[in-house]
């Protein structure tokens, strides 16, 4: 599996890669480090991108939905996403991924990016 260094704002990653953090009300505690590993090994990145930016194959995961909606989409997905049943991805693993997804940096305002001005 391909391993890549994710480029984030300074300090953000160190602050967020902490085991046992819960980031959304109702979400179980998730291990962000394990969540990153799972995100890159069980196929999430293929459609959502390595930093959750989304694209033609899948929507963005930056600013993910609440946990309850996330787990429903994971287990019984709408549209083209294949299902991650509990048999192949436990609730804890799902929570780990959810924890990791919360760490994706918010995009810059496109008005501040010269190449994205009309």
């Amino acid at each position: 599996m391909i391993r890549h260094l994710q480029v984030y704002g300074a300090g953000m990653l160190a602050g967020l890669l902490v085991a046992g953090s819960a980031f959304a009300q109702g979400a179980p505690n998730g291990n962000t480090v394990n969540g990153k590993k799972l995100f890159e090994t069980v196929g999430c990145f293929q459609c959502h991108g390595y930093v959750g930016q989304g694209g033609g194959a899948g929507p963005k995961l930056i600013d993910p939905p609440v946990w309850e909606a996330f787990i429903v989409q994971l287990r019984t997905p709408r549209q083209q996403m294949p299902p991650f049943t509990a048999k192949v991805l436990t609730d804890q693993q799902a929570a780990d991924i959810y924890s990791y997804v919360q760490t994706f940096p918010k995009p810059a305002d496109p008005a501040t990016i010269p190449l994205l001005r009309n």
Partner: protein, 613 residues
């Protein structure tokens, strides 16, 4: 037809030795006049064929010699390729930019087999191509061994399912007439490849001076147009509609296409959903509402589909689950009008014709050719009251379009600084350098694997700015087809940019050598996601469906361990290159340097380590 070889002597001839003063007993033949291959070159010139792409083969040694010595390698010029997949795919890309076919010359049987995939792609994409295949038809003319393995009685059977027509001439006059007919058939909509077997003896034998050969004149060609009564009926439906939508499939056939479609949309004040299979419509035209996607179809009461390639797929959502459930994207009461030529030529075996979908009105005719009469019929149908209502609708649509770019930029900003580099970033960096070209550029590659970012970020309003897809989906199309497009662009001084998948380029990397050897300017930006990513996702889907091994889908699908060094690969073929680039900050300067090389008339390649999509 060749004369039988003289009977051999019962006693072997005495071997020739140095110092012998007697000539050998076997006849040596040289020619003093024109040979058949020379006449074949005359035929190619009469058809205005500028290039013949080829990987050399003995079954057409005669024609090749005629091309380079009788024709002096000028109009047509022999483009040396390292594989028939390259030579045939170059024809595909060339035709879409040049607006006329070029030819490829393939070796008997095995060369045809190599060329089969790009011929198939061109067939699916309705692109004209003149394929000439060498063959030693006469058994007694075949030298022992491999020449027998490379000849056939009916070589066209290899490709007959996906060419419009094929021919095998009995003599040179038959050849001339066949070639003109082949060109004619290739360039009538629905266009497509044609296959002409070129007999070795016909190429090599001297022409009897008494033989009066002539090349028939090529007909001035018009394209099939939709029936006037049906067009009037379509106009009536469209004018009466409250929410009509125009869907452009493989619409553009000539340089007039984009402005014609824009004019149709303007006349009707209807939004266009561009499926981007050709340069159908200026992407920033205020009635180009492709950004709204399927939502555009949901509210439509009349849908006009112009040259649809997959009507069922256009109008239905098909979920990739067991059983392939599908749900319509359109209202149950929506009316569907189809204008196109695909139904005029369908072959049964290969199912590239897609699933059947019902329509209320089917008009057989080239959509671009039919457009002026449709516009006229619509104008005739619009009453003063109706004109006002349509104008109001159009105004709302135009206002809505002003928000599209803001949404596009907001999406492009996501992952902007990521490593691997986002496809949005790559496309934005390339555009930053292209936008001063005055529109004199072609994006020659497909863009769906880059989430269509070029169509969303770049300004495309010239007929040559994009050229759609392979349609047949045979991987290995992009690099050589892009080179064919670049060959067509060369005389116009246009920049050709191929955002090339890594897997695709690896199918025919020898394409790069042809680019360097013939000094064809083109910029290859390798979308290097280190995988056959589509297949990666497919196998992933299977693992999840079967509830096992969801972390093993990389087996057999990823292209890593080791990572391929595309820059070094390109250098080995004589192409300027940089990479691998994985820091987005380095990308802009690399593109600048590479484009400087391209603007001097040479190819260049940048290897970009990329996000998957």
């Amino acid at each position: 037809m060749a004369q039988p070889a003289p009977a051999r002597a019962a006693v072997p001839a005495k071997p020739q030795t140095v110092g012998d003063t007697q000539a050998p007993t076997e006849q040596r033949i040289v020619t003093s006049g024109k040979v058949g291959g020379d006449f074949m070159v005359d035929c190619l010139r009469a058809l205005n064929i500028d290039f013949v792409a080829s990987c050399p083969g003995s079954t057409f040694r005669g024609l090749q010699e005629s091309l380079i010595n009788y024709g002096m390698n000028t109009k047509p010029e022999f483009i040396t390729c390292l594989h028939e997949e390259v030579s045939a795919a170059m024809c595909h890309g060339y035709a879409k930019i040049a607006g006329k076919p070029m030819s490829c010359l393939v070796h008997g049987v095995v060369g045809t087999q190599h060329a089969a995939m790009p011929i198939y792609n061109a067939y699916c994409d309705q692109a004209p191509m003149l394929v000439m295949a060498g063959n030693v038809g006469e058994g007694t003319s075949r030298r022992p061994g491999v020449e027998w393995a490379h000849s056939a009685h009916d070589q066209a059977t290899i490709v007959r399912d996906y060419v419009k027509w094929d021919d095998q001439a009995a003599n040179l006059q038959d050849f001339a007439e066949g070639m003109v007919r082949a060109y004619d058939i290739a360039t009538i909509a629905p266009m497509g490849p044609v296959f002409v077997v070129v007999d070795a003896d016909q190429q090599e034998e001297e022409i009897d001076p008494k033989e009066k050969l002539f090349i028939p004149k090529l007909r001035k060609r018009s394209q099939p147009m939709g029936d006037a009564v049906a067009v009037a009926e379509a106009a009536k439906m469209l004018v009466a509609a409250e929410n009509p939508v125009i869907v452009a499939g493989r619409y553009q056939r000539t340089a007039a296409g984009p402005q014609l479609l824009a004019q149709l949309a303007d006349t009707l004040n209807a939004p266009v959903l561009d499926e981007r299979s050709r340069m159908n419509m200026p992407n920033r035209h205020p009635l180009n509402h492709t950004e709204r996607g399927a939502g555009l179809l949901r509210q439509a009461d009349v849908i006009l589909c112009l040259e649809p390639m997959d009507l069922f797929g256009t109008l239905n959502n098909v979920t990739d689950l067991i059983g392939r459930p599908s749900t319509p994207k359109i209202r149950p009461d929506a009316k569907v009008i189809v204008i196109g030529t695909t139904d005029a030529q369908i072959k049964a075996n290969i199912t590239a014709y897609e699933r059947y979908n019902q329509a209320d009105l089917g008009i057989t005719g080239d959509a671009e050719t039919t457009t002026p009469s449709l516009i006229q019929a619509i104008e005739k149908e619009i009453t003063p009251n109706r004109r006002s209502a349509l104008a109001t609708r159009g105004q709302k649509l135009r206002e809505q379009s002003t928000g599209f770019m803001k949404a596009v930029y907001a999406q492009a900003a996501m992952g902007w600084t990521a490593n691997p580099i986002s496809t949005a970033r790559t496309c934005a960096e390339v555009w930053e350098q292209l936008k001063t070209s005055g529109g004199e550029y072609t994006m020659s590659s497909e863009a769906n694997f880059l989430s269509d970012w070029p169509y969303r970020l770049w300004n495309m309003d010239k007929p040559w700015n994009s050229m759609g897809r392979s349609v047949g989906g045979g991987v290995g199309y992009t690099a050589p087809a892009s080179l064919g497009a670049a060959l067509a662009n060369k005389e116009h001084g246009r920049i050709t940019v191929s955002l090339n998948g890594d897997g695709d380029l690896l199918m025919q990397p020898g394409t790069l050598w042809t680019a360097a050897h013939h000094e064809i300017p083109i910029l290859y930006v390798v979308h290097n996601n280190r995988a056959y990513h589509q297949e990666y996702m497919h196998v992933q889907r299977m693992a999840q469906r079967n509830q096992r091994g969801i972390d093993r889908a990389h087996i057999g699908t990823t292209i890593d361990n080791p990572n391929i060094d595309f820059a070094t690969l390109a250098k080995s073929y004589g192409v300027y290159s940089e990479g691998p680039i994985s820091n987005p900050v380095d990308l802009g300067p690399a593109i600048t340097r590479a484009l400087a090389v391209v603007k001097k008339g040479q190819p260049a390649l940048i290897d970009v380590v990329s996000q998957p999509r």
